[in-house]
Symmetry: none
Subunit: 401 residues, 2 copies
């Protein structure tokens, strides 16, 4: 049975409030055999207190051994089966720069390249232009018009930009025009179906115009496009759970993922304190608060073990302020692990804690990988966490009589 | 989503090597309440060291409470959903005698029986003939020809043989001709569809001829057939995982199961040392090594607790030789439990260990049922083990961006 249908059937109205604090890439590894993980190394008195008050476990983001990107990692935590809902590359790029993708959009990742006089690609990244040069080239692309559709071109950085085509009847069944090689001309876009063909026609016109308008910008004088993606058909969070949800995130990608499921996107500035202040300010207005903390992931990606430890400790410091708001359900987890040792996302299950009045506390008194292994939530699939959140919030009725 | 498609999408090339050591029927039970299992009784310093260096858990072969045969047990370990891929009885019989079943074959388990002058079965096992008598009868069956197909008849033992029909358009939708009773005539084969009907026609001709040619061999003068099975449509291991795989097994059944998924079948002789020598010799040539050890199962099936303990200890002795090859991922598990107390396969989860550089070691220092219960792999489905193997081998990329 589809879990969302089950929730729609069983959910009950309530006044209870749920906080989902996502420390990106939270889980880790020891740097050497016999050592401690980042979380085991960090002094986390407040997270430990929450673990003591609550129930703990390890979240499996997708399946054992499967390392998720940010998209599937967060969808799982929001209660969407990450193997069922896939978010295309183009959409993620657009989300990542905070572009408000709509339901009739096709989003595409664009690369500036250098074309020779023969039209062949001589540099797939156009000499990695500065961000200023990128913006200048994007401004030129913005002058392009294709009848019947709206075009949006947004800079990302260096050679990367996002193209969004808005119009009726567009599809994402289109090949990448990036041949992934130099010494050849960019590929023509071709549709795999009627909707894809409509997109391909727009794209080919756009690319032809791009070559003209970019000429003065050489070596940034061509474009390749890939990752064609329509807005995913995805149920809205509030429609499924009956929770009015606020996203309190700093980075565009996570705002974008929250917007994708229909959460309200608040603007907390760029500090943890700003996030806490925002949550406090809107506490009365929402049922569900998704707070995202990036730095446990970015330090892990950097392979900087001491920095990740420090970022965990910084997060720990704001836990009392969140708990002081008295959420009925307080959850701390991550969308995946990012061990400093691996300098990348990984598949390792993620330490998770949940505090509520009815959570059946376990004997775990420290919040880390090793302790959570003995926790009462066991090892569970991330996409089931929202069921636990709803149940602990008193918002899920009995199934069957 | 189909797991194999996910693996095909995410897998990355590599030079890492994976060893999957399967101790058949590894898990056990204490003989009496409060006692120790076979694995808990055995002295296993080398497996314990591997458990200490690695991560442990318990593998659920199919589903809780489901006892697998060798086929589903191994398919799960190879990463095939044992509830999706079913291998017919006839195919397993053929694999068990090392017959190279092909994709246009129907394999059938045959029993010799004794027919009275009225054509009715008087002994369903033909007085359990000696293996010599079996072979003589098989030789007579081999003289039978049916136009349009090739027939292969192979002795198994006592009253059992295998019939393989090779030809185009054959199906396995055919009823057993064995009425499972005496005092009645064998049933006519009837097809349940066009392909089954073609097989049934061949079979009825074969059975009629068999009665003629076997007459001099009375009481081995009739045959019944059951377990009609075509070669299963099953993806090849290398095609799914991108791993060049070698099977280092002594017993035909396990060679056969490995051949079914396309592994190379090596001939290590009949000793553990022969298996180690073979693995060492071909170490450079393969990415994945499936090594099968039978005696933990056969001693369990015999209900011989001390012998199973001894066989576990014998296996433990060769673990250092395998680890000396420095596999990137070293896994020890079983295809199911075979408790001496039950003298049979069982559903009990199977102790499992995995050693790699990035395996997130747990606190388990002994390799047995009780210890592995506290392991970092938790209780997991056997068919997910290959995902973990691939991830730990650095051969699975990120899912989604």
């Amino acid at each position: 049975m589809n879990i969302h249908n089950l929730v729609r059937e069983l959910r009950e109205p309530g006044k209870s409030k749920i906080v989902l604090l996502v420390a990106d890439g939270l889980g880790g590894l020891p740097m050497e055999a016999g050592g401690k993980t980042e979380l085991e190394t960090a002094a986390t008195p407040n997270l430990d207190a929450a673990a003591r008050d609550g129930i703990t476990g390890l979240s499996i983001p997708v399946l054992p051994g499967i390392t998720p990107g940010s998209g599937p990692g967060h969808l799982g935590l929001f209660g969407y089966d990450p193997l069922e809902y896939r978010i295309g590359r183009g959409i993620l790029e657009a989300l990542g720069i905070n572009f408000p993708v709509g339901s009739s959009d096709v989003a595409i990742r664009g690369n500036f390249c250098t074309l020779g006089t023969d039209g062949k690609i001589s540099d797939r990244r156009a000499g990695r232009p500065t961000n200023e040069k990128n913006k200048a080239a994007v401004e030129r692309l913005r002058t392009i018009r294709v009848p019947g559709v709206e075009l949006f071109v947004e800079p990302v950085k260096e050679h990367r930009f996002v193209l969004v085509i808005r119009g009726e009847g567009l599809g994402d069944g289109v090949n990448d025009t990036d041949p992934q090689a130099v010494g050849v001309v960019p590929l023509k876009a071709e549709g795999k179906d009627a909707a894809g063909t409509k997109t391909a026609e727009v794209v080919n016109k756009f690319v032809a115009e791009a070559t003209k308008v970019l000429a003065p910008e050489a070596p940034v004088n061509g474009v390749t496009l890939r990752g064609f993606a329509t807005y995913p058909k995805i149920a809205k969070f509030e429609e499924v759970y009956g929770l009015k949800a606020a996203a309190i995130a700093v980075y565009p990608m996570y705002k974008g993922l929250a917007r994708l499921v229909g959460m309200d996107i608040l603007d907390p500035g760029v500090t943890l304190q700003g996030q806490i202040d925002t949550m406090t300010k809107v506490w009365k207005d929402y049922d569900f608060f998704f707070m995202h903390y990036k730095y446990t992931d970015s330090t892990g990606e950097d392979g900087n073990f001491p920095a990740k430890v420090q970022m965990i400790e910084k997060l720990d410091e704001v836990v009392p302020a969140i708990r002081a708001l008295k959420p009925d359900v307080f959850i701390v987890t991550g969308d995946h692990s990012t061990p400093s040792k691996m300098k990348s996302h990984s598949w390792h299950p993620v330490p998770t804690l949940l505090v509520s009045d009815v959570c059946r506390t376990d004997e775990v008194t420290h919040f880390n990988e090793r302790s959570c292994l003995r926790g009462g939530l066991g090892q569970f699939q991330a996409m089931h966490l929202m069921l636990l959140a709803m149940a602990n919030a008193g918002r899920l009725g009995k199934y069957g009589a």
